[in-house]
């Protein structure tokens, strides 16, 4: 992965780039990338430029320059030293995300990942769509990848190193491999001058050389690699093992104050988690996203963002929609320098049961997903379900609780009055009863109200808030119906006049 050193410092989603690889059938892929960083990032290895962003290239910086030369051409360049640990970490994260396509993912030489997708083709809708998905995922992760497919892992590796496309059949793979340069094989590189002198530049010419002599001069590794690529010998790869628990951390290249960039960072972590979930056959119920703030003098504890799901999921789309709403509402107390994602509550994955005819209103999961999305933006207190209480007092009876509280149907039915149809209750109950003016000894609300029903006496609540009221249905001049009541306990003296209140509207 020639440009991996660069993109670990500036992932593509902050308008820079990198490299990664994916591969096929029995594996194989590699990657290359070009960076487009605003500041002009230059990566040095042993004091020589080994990777650079297009901005730096445009200023005239070339690979192999020394630090002084770079600073002379581009004083504002951000010069960093190559970090092998960060590259290995990045490759590991990509591998983790790729686990969602196949459980068999291996790390190969030169920043390449090999995926055995032989068994995944039908599930993901064919080789083209699978490659497109892998590419899209790499983009989301912030890397540019060259994806190649071949019937052999080493063949795919070679094709991906040259970005030479897909070969699905063995004979087309042989044709493509024959055209590749000899120097692509790592064991052949020390002998490059010798091969050049022989006039042996392509792999087909290399194959025509006598094998015993080649083995004596160049070692066993070259022949093994060649045989593996052409499918003459079996290959062995060490597939990566997903860890027992999922916890991923992303150190940000910069201090972030914008939620949308944070979202891209969170997507990087969520993609890894989906890969891990698929590999472990688990679904997540609750995730914890921690935003780490700057340490030191102005240290403050990380902001925790917990997302609980009603329906366990292992795909990233729904999680990302929820996180987008949550992050959009979040007010950052300080710039963020790191993101940590943890899968807290897990369940075994339950694959969807497809019915022959889908329900017209979507499945129950769709409904739950919609509600979760609403809760994420509006807040749990603003998405309510009805849970009537068996109480005579109208305010107490009309209880609404947050929708994620689980209420069994029988508990709800037990609270309902047996003769709900005979209760004259208004559709809209005022949050607070409205004291009515009195005109001509009659309650007045816009117009004089005329009582249109017999009273309904409600007297309850001595244990907490006593209510002694006579409720009437009243009709205004405009024939709208109101639910009004009269307090039965009046004061004495000046307060002795009856007090009327408006409590509901008949919708």
């Amino acid at each position: 992965m020639p440009q991996l050193p660069l993109e670990v410092f500036s992932p593509r989603w902050c308008s820079s780039s990198g490299a990664a690889g994916g591969a096929d059938s029995a594996g194989g892929a590699a990657a290359a990338g070009a960076a487009a960083g605003d500041p002009g990032i230059v990566v040095l290895e042993q004091e020589r430029v080994m990777a650079l962003s297009p901005a730096a290239r445009a200023e005239g910086v070339l690979p192999g320059m020394r630090r002084g030369g770079v600073l002379m051409l581009m004083p504002e360049a951000r010069i960093v030293n190559r970090s092998h640990e960060r590259e290995a970490e990045a490759l590991q994260s990509v591998a983790m995300a790729m686990l969602q396509y196949t459980p068999q993912v291996a790390l190969a030489e030169e920043a390449t990942l090999l995926l055995d997708i032989g068994a995944s083709l039908r599930l993901f809708g064919g080789i083209r769509r699978l490659c497109a998905q892998v590419r899209a995922n790499l983009r989301t992760l912030g890397f540019t990848g060259c994806v190649a497919c071949a019937p052999t892992a080493r063949g795919a590796w070679l094709l991906a190193r040259r970005n030479a496309g897909r070969a699905v059949k063995m004979d087309s793979l042989v044709r493509r491999l024959n055209r590749l340069p000899v120097s692509l094989l790592p064991p052949a590189r020390p002998f490059a001058a010798w091969f050049d002198g022989l006039g042996c530049r392509r792999l087909d010419e290399l194959q025509r050389l006598p094998r015993p002599g080649l083995q004596r001069r160049c070692g066993r590794a070259l022949l093994d690699m060649l045989d593996a690529a052409y499918g003459h010998s079996p290959e062995l790869w060490r597939w990566i093992e997903p860890p027992e628990r999922f916890q991923a951390r992303l150190e940000l290249f910069d201090r972030l104050e914008h939620a949308d960039l944070l979202l891209a960072g969170a997507h990087y972590l969520v993609l890894q988690m989906t890969g891990w979930l698929c590999a472990r056959q688990l679904a997540v119920e609750r995730i914890l996203l921690q935003l780490e703030h700057e340490r030191g003098r102005v240290a403050c504890p990380p902001t925790a963002l917990e997302v609980a799901l009603a329906e366990p999921t292992w795909r990233d789309e729904h999680l990302m929609r929820l996180l987008r709403e949550r992050l959009g509402k979040l007010e950052l107390v300080a710039p963020v320098i790191g993101i940590r994602l943890e899968a807290q509550q897990l369940q075994a994955m339950a694959p969807p049961t497809d019915s022959l005819f889908p329900d017209p209103g979507g499945s129950e999961e769709d409904r739950m997903r919609m509600i979760e999305l609403l809760v994420a933006r509006l807040g749990a207190d603003n998405v309510l379900q009805a849970l009537p209480h068996a109480d005579y007092r109208p305010e107490v009876a009309n209880a609404w609780v947050p929708v994620h509280e689980r209420v069994s149907a029988s508990a709800r039915a037990a609270q309902m009055p047996p003769d709900v149809h005979s209760l004259p209750r208004p559709s809209w109950l005022l949050a607070k009863p409205l004291a009515l003016l009195m005109r001509n000894h009659r309650p007045f609300y816009g117009s004089p109200l005329r009582v249109a029903s017999n009273p309904e006496r409600i007297e309850a609540g001595w244990w907490s808030q006593t209510q002694t009221r006579d409720y009437f249905i009243a009709e205004g001049k405009d024939h709208a119906l109101y639910w009004i009541y009269r307090e039965r306990i009046n004061g004495s003296g000046d307060d002795a006049a009856p007090r009327w209140f408006l409590h509901g509207l008949f919708g």
Binding site: M370, R442, A480
Partner: protein
Amino acid sequence: MNHSSILAAPEALHPSLWRASQLAHADTRCIDTGHATLSGQLPGGGWPGGTLVDLLLQQPGIGEMRLLRPALAACASRRIVLLQPPHPPQALALAALGLDPAQLLWLRSTRSADALWAAEQVLRSGSCGALLFWANHVRSDSLRRLHLAAQGGDTLFFMLRPLAAAQDASPAPLRLALRPAAGGMTVDFIKRRGPQRDAPLFLPLGSSLLQRHAPLDRPVFAPATARSLQPALVQ
């Protein structure tokens, strides 16, 4: 079909053609309003699903839920979403109207942008039977957006807005103005796919609400005597 018959009945050419004197055919599934006189005046004979329906109310609480009761009860197998109603809804009253409290969802929002977003999410998910959205000021581009979102599904979508909004343009193909009347309500047809109707339509509503206790036309409650009797009655 020959030339003369086309001239005689051009509306038979295509379902989306109608004469100015006729009601349009429905291009979506319609849900019966439950009020025969009203259904007869609506294109398709009911509330159109998957369409923005504008109801303009003189004030909240004039019988709008009783008007919508039969249609809401018909789609109560799925959730009914009440988006920022003017007052807290009372589950018992809605249960008495035939709506299962388990299927009610009450959404509150503090900002109108959130409410519009929530309405769009509900419409796009298509998993709810009906959406009732109370809004005071909505820009017409937001209305158009909601109308488009509604067309993606068959959710029954009502926007309940103040009567003053009747002046503004709206993409809704059906707009009704509701006013309370003695023993029911009157419906003005502001916009419909059909002939202009100026005379308001009277719908009897809510008789069951009052008859159980005391008939409205009992002599004691006659308007002439009510004024003099009332203080004595209440004291």
